[in-house]
């Protein structure tokens, strides 16, 4: 009885959050450097659906369909992905300081992208190389973790992540030194700071399958995730195959992070802080934490990206804004929050 009432409550909450997110997305669609009146936005959107383009300003249509819509979609998708991945990693490693970078996915993706920029590759190859780089780095870390059998598996993974992250970081620095200071170095720097300025609908479409596949284990295993946070021994007593569960969850979280980073560059902070904020709001139960992180992550990224493209004449890299906007808010929540870590 109590359970179903609680379920009704969370269902309501989810419906409200989705409605709020939609409203936020509409608001974001209306904000930008190129002024388009709200009624024009609606008619431009309608014309895209009906195919009737009479009386539509082509530039307004470009702004809405080719610039704002892809950015709003990418912002929601990437924010949700990074926050969900962060919540998963933090639960798996039972550590509040963990972010999606812990196993080297961001570092690997950076190296992949930076290498492709250095080798003068076309943009789709840069994105693919970044995606593969992220997966490879985590694969390497996991490989080391699997090879070392007689130690605490979680600790081994974390330490292997630190070591491989350092090597990958050295590779990035080396390429930065070798890169052409006029053409390549700015491209590398901006990539490492993260931005959605050049995101197209094609980009969003290209990462969507990987993100959806990655989310499957996170959603299906949300109850087991709770058990995993108790620690390996207790989880095993409860009949959970910790090794298998952990690898499947890591694979899912890594897949969505690598896909996000491949088109947005490195957007730090979201994966670390949004899960905390979600935890302060709904508590540590992963069944609630995951949807809360997804919603908050999407909303947060949307707000930050809207600021990035509207507060100054030039674009502000996302990596800068996520930290500047997020840190004070997080500290305030920390000081006034009710629910704890466990």
């Amino acid at each position: 009885m109590k359970d179903s009432a609680e379920n009704d409550g969370s269902l309501k909450l989810i419906v409200y959050s989705i409605a709020g997110l939609m409203a936020l997305a509409m608001l974001s669609m209306a904000i930008g450097k190129y002024f388009v009146s709200p009624s024009s936005i609606l008619s431009v959107l309608l014309s895209g659906i009906t195919g009737d383009t009479s009386g539509i300003d082509p530039i307004q249509s470009t702004v809405i369909w080719n610039v704002r819509l892809p950015r709003v979609a990418a912002g929601l998708l990437i924010g949700a992905s990074l926050a969900a991945a962060g919540a998963t990693y933090q639960g798996l490693f039972r550590n509040p300081l963990v972010s999606p970078d812990i196993l080297g996915v961001s570092a690997g993706a950076s190296l992949g992208a930076v290498l492709a920029i250095f080798l003068e590759m076309p943009v789709p190859v840069i994105q693919a190389s970044s995606f593969c780089g992220g997966l490879l780095a985590v694969g390497a870390v996991y490989g080391v973790g699997a090879a070392v059998r007689n130690r605490d598996p979680v600790l081994t993974l974390v330490l292997a992540g630190v070591a491989i992250g350092a090597v990958v970081g050295a590779g990035i620095s080396l390429i930065k030194i070798l890169a052409d200071p006029y053409d390549q170095l700015p491209a590398i720097t901006y990539w490492l700071l993260g931005s959605l300025t050049a995101v197209t609908r094609g980009d969003v479409g290209s990462i969507l399958p990987a993100v959806l596949i990655g989310f499957v284990p996170l959603i299906l295993l949300r109850w087991r995730m709770n058990v995993m946070t108790l620690g390996d021994e207790e989880a095993q007593t409860l009949g959970v195959d910790t090794r298998l569960t952990r690898s499947v969850l890591i694979a899912g979280a890594t897949l969505i992070t690598a896909a996000s980073v491949s088109i947005a560059g490195i957007v730090g902070w979201i994966g670390l802080v949004i899960p905390h904020i979600a935890r302060l709001l709904v508590g540590p139960d992963f069944r609630k934490l995951l949807p809360a992180s997804i919603m908050l992550g999407g909303a947060y990224m949307l707000i930050v990206d809207t600021l990035a493209r509207s507060i100054a004449r030039i674009e502000i890299p996302l990596g800068i804004l996520t930290a500047v906007v997020g840190a004070p808010f997080f500290l305030w929540l920390l000081a006034s929050g009710r629910k704890g870590w466990s």
């Binding site: 470009t62 006029y182 493209r309 030039i314």
Partner: protein, 344 residues
């Protein structure tokens, strides 16, 4: 009746559209881009393109990639000093805001520089996203005259482009003929130091030192290998013992002259330490654009005073008048060349 009206209006629209949309243009990336016959607003993707557009057709420049500083503005035409800043379109991400770019309503976007697959696909992407023709232009120094003519035709300012291209050709021809007469032994070994400490330099093949190679001088740092910018140690510089030091920052030029650690280097002993003039655009390297033409004259006067009869002050005045369309006063000329010429 309604049908007829419709047909007429469609015919009218087609003719109208035919006038607006115009000729195909093959850019340096091998892309064929439809560009309007009459280009009146140009958005530049990076600094070299901004300089090129400014010298050819300042009235068509919609804005800057980086806001010019007060010192730079003094040497620019008043009409362009306060143009808006749009940021850099180059690279994935970049700092340019796509909506601001669209709001500027440019007829074309021009990018000048290295042309490779990254830039080709980026140009395609931006063009597809914005619907604005995006043109890549090869920015290598040796091709300066061709680049001026090509972009001049594109912007509909062929006459002015011809004038500037002729100047560039004369400069390169004078340079190459003059250099040919200078024996290998008389070509100085040069160190180019960047950064406040002057310990950053360019390796062999670095685009920053392109015109040093063009004037036939030896870049001592080429001994350290091929590549772009790099950091070196004072020990290496002592070992290379350059005869001339060019300093990107006046602070470093000052430091090199007074620091006892640098005192034993041949260039310092001979008083051959010069800051590279950098106003309104770099004379020596940044940005790597047509702005470097005057740097060639400056280096001829500096490195080969015997082989070249350069009247530097007259040349600088002429270049600024021709390219930047500003009349230099003697006081401005002295500011520009402060410390950058041998004391006579």
């Amino acid at each position: 009746m309604l049908k007829l009206l419709g047909a007429v209006s469609i015919a009218f629209l087609t003719v109208f559209a035919g006038m607006a949309v115009a000729r195909p243009f093959k850019d340096a990336g091998g892309r064929t881009v439809e560009i309007p016959n009459h280009v009146s607003r140009v958005l530049t993707a990076g600094p070299p393109a901004a300089v090129l557009t400014y010298v050819l057709a300042p009235e068509k420049l919609t804005g800057w990639v980086q806001e010019p500083t007060k010192e730079q503005k003094e040497f620019l035409m008043p009409s362009v000093r306060d143009l808006p800043t749009y940021g850099r379109l180059t690279g994935q991400g970049g700092t340019a805001n796509m909506e601001a770019v669209l709001a500027a309503k440019p007829d074309i976007i021009i990018d000048v520089g290295t042309v490779n697959d990254t830039y080709i696909s980026l140009a395609d992407k931006v063009q597809q996203q914005t619907g604005i023709p995006y043109i890549l232009i090869d920015g290598s120094f040796a091709k300066t005259p061709e680049t001026l003519r090509l972009v001049g035709d594109l912007l509909g300012v062929s006459a002015r482009a011809g004038e500037l291209a002729t100047y560039a050709e004369t400069t390169l021809k004078t340079l190459n003929e003059g250099i040919a007469k200078v024996p290998e032994a008389e070509r100085p070994k040069v160190y180019y130091g960047r950064g406040p400490e002057g310990l950053e330099t360019g390796l062999a093949g670095s685009i920053n030192l392109e015109i040093l190679g063009a004037v036939g001088a030896t870049n001592v740092a080429a001994a350290a290998g091929k590549g772009g910018l790099t950091n070196v140690s004072l020990e290496q510089i002592l070992g290379w013992n350059p005869q001339v030091i060019l300093a990107a920052s006046p602070k470093f030029a000052q430091a090199a002259k007074s620091d006892p650690l640098w005192a034993n280097i041949a260039a310092v002993k001979a008083g051959q330490v010069y800051p590279t003039p950098s106003t309104p655009f770099g004379w020596f390297d940044s940005p790597p654009g047509v702005n470097r033409l005057i740097g060639v004259r400056w280096l001829e006067a500096l490195l080969y005073p015997k082989a070249f009869a350069v009247d530097l002050k007259a040349d600088v005045k002429q270049f600024f008048k021709l390219f930047y369309q500003v009349e230099l006063t003697d006081a401005q000329l002295d500011t520009l060349l402060k410390g950058a010429t041998p004391k006579s």
